[in-house]
Amino acid sequence: MRMHIPDGFLDAKTAIASGVFSAAGLGTALRHTRRHLHSREIPLIGLTAAFIFVAQMLNFPVAGGTSGHLIGATLAVVLLGPSVAVIVMSSVLIIQALIFADVGLFELGANIFNMALVAPLCSFIVYRIIRKIFQDNRGQLFAASVASWCATIIAAVVCAGELVWSGTAQWNVVFPAMVGIHAFIGIGEALITMLVLAAIGNTRPELLEDKSRSNSGKEQKAVLLYGILIILGLLIFVVPFASKLPDGLERVAKTFGFENKAIENQSFSAPLKNYRFYGFELSETSSILAGIIGAGSVFVFLFVLSRVIVPKSKNGMNSKTPPL
């Protein structure tokens, strides 16, 4: 299961709306880079995009014959900062759309929005928050892994919203499916991100220095804009389905012709929504509870792993991890 949306799944308005957001986000990232980054970073951005592309190709065996793959948005953010990550992930998707056809061209806007805007930015925010608490090397691994898990899920939720808004699927099917599946995929992403950062820290720890900190002032404006775009996206693609649409907003939607068979199909009259989860129904509260417990377990697991993976050393430099 991947988040790359092929052509034909989204309708015109979804593709256009997400396209506009992506263009704005990518444009901001490009402008920031042009203004504030030295030209020597540009080959690095190109090579990193190629690097992420190649990293995404590698098969991480899971169970039976299945395998997982890295998406890399968080890796890009931790290594190069949010704006560069936006450009890097967008470039990967554009190349995939134009040459390999495994990303839809028409739906490129939505794909860029999900994986090149939402994912990196959510990573960035979660990462920075956790970093403020855990400031050491191992804290960086923990922060990055949690950030990638969260970002994977949030991006999947936005993707679900886009599918529903297009009338392709129903919220109470696609939302739990996407969240459930990506809660698992996200763990893989978190693990791989942690392992890769540990591997890099082993040989070249200076590459892991927080780039975002040094550029903080100038990048803040850009980050703010990405945040606004994402909030707008969430408002349009997710919020209407996740909760009862306020009457005013619904009227606005109807005026602009955005009324959607899918929206009307959701039953808002029931006080609690029931989610169909793998064949049995869960009430909303129990879903939320399950979610919290699940998330908590993931955080604990990742925390423990981050402590184990890099043995503590006094002088702050990462000593060698077990031989790989």
């Binding site: 990193t48 190629a50 590698l58 470039s91 390999f100 082993n202």
Partner: protein
């Protein structure tokens, strides 16, 4: 690594000689995009439109001289992803119709893109998007990404071979750590290489 994808990287067919290949890229790109738009926007029960589009695609495919085996393989490789996402459409009122509609439309779009990317060299695609107003910085980055994609794939393959000759365990944990290490190495080499590329660029006048 997924070997069925490797062949595509050779950009093997984009410089064949056929009536389609010889068409100007701007025409091909605009046409492909228009085709995709039509496929997506026209409701599928307007059968005659869908029919014409399919026939057109087949004509282009045949006159492009791309080996049908290649196109079929590519389509088969990508189809599961379409099906995987489309499966979710089944669980609703009218689900089967929606599912079929999506699968057919998606496959047509796939075919269009496969044809396009294999009859148009990537450099021409890049100059086209530059001409329609995509920022130069992005085009430069895309060009660099494309150029070094093949180089990095080779590097990753080399690291992998080196590791495989030293590792005897196929245990999942070891494989994950090994792959992560390869990815880490790849990144480090990429940063080093980008420094040298920068030097090469400025030594020929880039600013």
């Amino acid at each position: 690594m997924d070997h069925s994808m490797r062949h595509d990287f050779l950009d093997r067919f984009s410089r064949l000689d056929s009536p389609i290949h010889r068409l100007p890229s701007a025409l091909k790109l605009s046409f492909a995009f228009a085709l995709i738009l039509l496929v997506i926007l026209v409701p599928i029960h307007v059968w005659w439109v869908s029919g014409i589009l399919i026939v057109l695609l087949l004509i282009f495919f045949v006159s492009s001289k791309i080996p049908w085996r290649f196109v079929a393989a590519r389509l088969l490789f990508l189809e599961p992803f379409v099906l995987g996402v489309a499966v979710m459409a089944l669980f609703q009122h009218d689900g089967l119709t929606i599912f079929l509609r999506i699968v057919i439309k998606s496959s047509l779009c796939l075919l269009t893109m496969i044809l396009l990317s294999n009859t148009t060299p990537f450099t021409e695609i890049l100059s086209f998007i530059r001409r329609i107003g995509i920022p130069a910085l992005l085009v430069t980055i895309l060009a660099l990404t494309y150029r070094y994609l093949f180089v990095l794939i080779d590097e990753a393959a080399r690291f992998r071979r080196a590791r495989n000759s030293r590792t005897f365990s196929s245990h999942r944990t070891k494989v994950w750590m090994s792959l992560a290490s390869i990815i880490g190495q790849l990144f480090i080499r990429s940063t080093e290489r980008s420094e040298r590329i920068y030097s090469a660029m400025i030594s020929r006048g880039w600013k």
